[in-house]
């Protein structure tokens, strides 16, 4: 084996070992690397109630209720739901059927007290006119219900 070959194998072996180590670490830290939990995660995973956490999902249709400067809405992941109460400024994209990520704390009654609400959008882009035409024709599918 020449020295060049030895260096080549050394670099390749190093990259494979490092890649393997990174994969193991990232898999082990999977739960801390997610930015938010879904309402279904709250039921299956044990999340301690007094910890601050982020919940993500879609704002359920017909669930938004404004009471003064307090807003109530329900976050759904289409399998489980979570009622949320929030006082503060909402992002422009916030509306029923839209993805949201909200940070706050669960109380004893299963109500989520949010201190921050962020809007999340999906990877689909479309001209305004096209979206309106599709909505008019009745073919529109809400986010999250797309195949």
């Amino acid at each position: 084996m020449t020295r060049k070959q030895r260096r080549l194998y050394f670099v390749l072996l190093g990259m494979v070992a490092l890649g393997g180590a990174a994969a193991l670490v990232l898999t082990a830290m999977n739960d801390t690397l997610v930015y938010f939990y879904t309402p279904a995660d709250l039921q299956t995973k044990h999340v301690s109630p007094d910890r601050r956490l982020r919940i993500g999902g879609l704002v359920e249709q017909g669930s938004i209720q404004h009471q003064g400067d307090v807003v109530h809405f329900v976050v759904t992941d289409l399998t489980a739901t979570l009622p949320v109460v929030y006082r503060g400024v909402l992002p422009d994209l916030f509306r029923e059927g839209q993805g949201v990520v909200t940070e706050g704390k669960l109380d004893g009654q299963g109500l989520f007290h949010a201190s921050e609400v962020l809007a999340k959008h999906d990877e689909n882009y479309m001209p305004k006119e096209v979206a309106e035409a599709i909505k008019k024709s009745g073919q529109w599918q809400e986010e999250g219900k797309k195949p």
């Binding site: 890649g19 990232l26 690397l33 930015y35 909402l90 422009d92 994209l93 999906d122 305004k128």
Partner: protein, 251 residues
């Protein structure tokens, strides 16, 4: 590739290619910007804000292309000890770092109106920030040695180790739940953009890429000329060649 590895031939070839690439990048970015700002529709959700995409996505692309170039050149430099490879890696770092910064800055400007926050510690944003720190670490390490050869070696090892981060950035939106959207452009099922938005985006990606190559060639040429000057100075001082690197470059 073997032919390009000769510094003298590289100087000749790059001199021919450079003006054409510069012209292509000006044309592509010019036409791309026109379509991005005037000739493309507003998005049904994001309105006019979507136009940030036409700078944000090409910047992110080149941040990662820059690092991949750096890592590949570092590997060639480490394994085959080729002096030109070290110069390419060194030249790519500040360009890639600039594009990574541009990606983070435009992303922040985009995040505030759309998400409602300038920054979120989700997997995509955090891994992109790590990419910027890897670039900065690379540049610092590479210039921390008095002997440029040793600096290049240490930095090459850092560049290779940090390359693990590039696939993590790409797939972060698929592996973990993030605030950042999943890929719209580079995905197996094809882009989720209409042609009216895809065209300006691809023009901008092509234009930015040409610009990257032009600046990279410019920087490598400058590095080669600088080593020649160093070699000449050393000869004047010592009356003989001291640096084998300069010897090979001066050819």
């Amino acid at each position: 590739m073997q032919g390009l590895a000769n510094p003298a031939r590289f100087m000749r070839l790059s001199k021919v290619v450079q003006p054409w690439l510069a012209l292509a990048s000006v044309l592509l970015i010019g036409v791309g910007l026109y379509f991005a700002l005037f000739g493309s529709p507003a998005d049904y959700q994001q309105g006019q804000t979507v136009r940030i995409m036409y700078v944000h996505v090409p910047s992110a692309w080149l941040g990662m292309v820059g690092y991949t170039t750096m890592a590949l050149a570092s590997a060639v430099g480490l394994i085959w000890k080729h002096p030109l490879a070290d110069l390419v890696a060194k030249a790519a770092a500040p360009i890639g770092a600039s594009f990574t910064f541009l990606c983070l800055a435009t992303g922040s400007l985009w995040g505030k109106p759309m998400w409602g926050t300038w920054w979120a510690w989700d997997a995509r944003l955090t891994s992109m920030l790590i990419l910027l720190f890897l670039y900065l670490g690379y540049m610092a390490l590479q210039s921390a040695f008095d002997d440029p050869g040793r600096g290049a070696r240490a930095a090459a090892i850092l560049a290779l180790a940090g390359f693990i981060n590039v696939p993590i950035i790409k797939f972060s939106v698929d592996w973990w739940k993030t605030l950042h959207q999943p890929a719209s452009l580079m995905k197996m099922s094809g882009p989720t953009l209409p042609p009216s938005m895809l065209t300006p985006l691809l023009l901008m990606v092509a234009g930015f890429t040409c610009f990257f190559v032009v600046v990279l060639l410019l920087r490598v040429r400058a590095e080669i000329i600088a080593s020649k000057i160093r070699a000449i100075r050393l000869t004047q001082i010592h009356g003989s060649h001291e640096s084998p690197l300069a010897d090979r470059l001066a050819g």
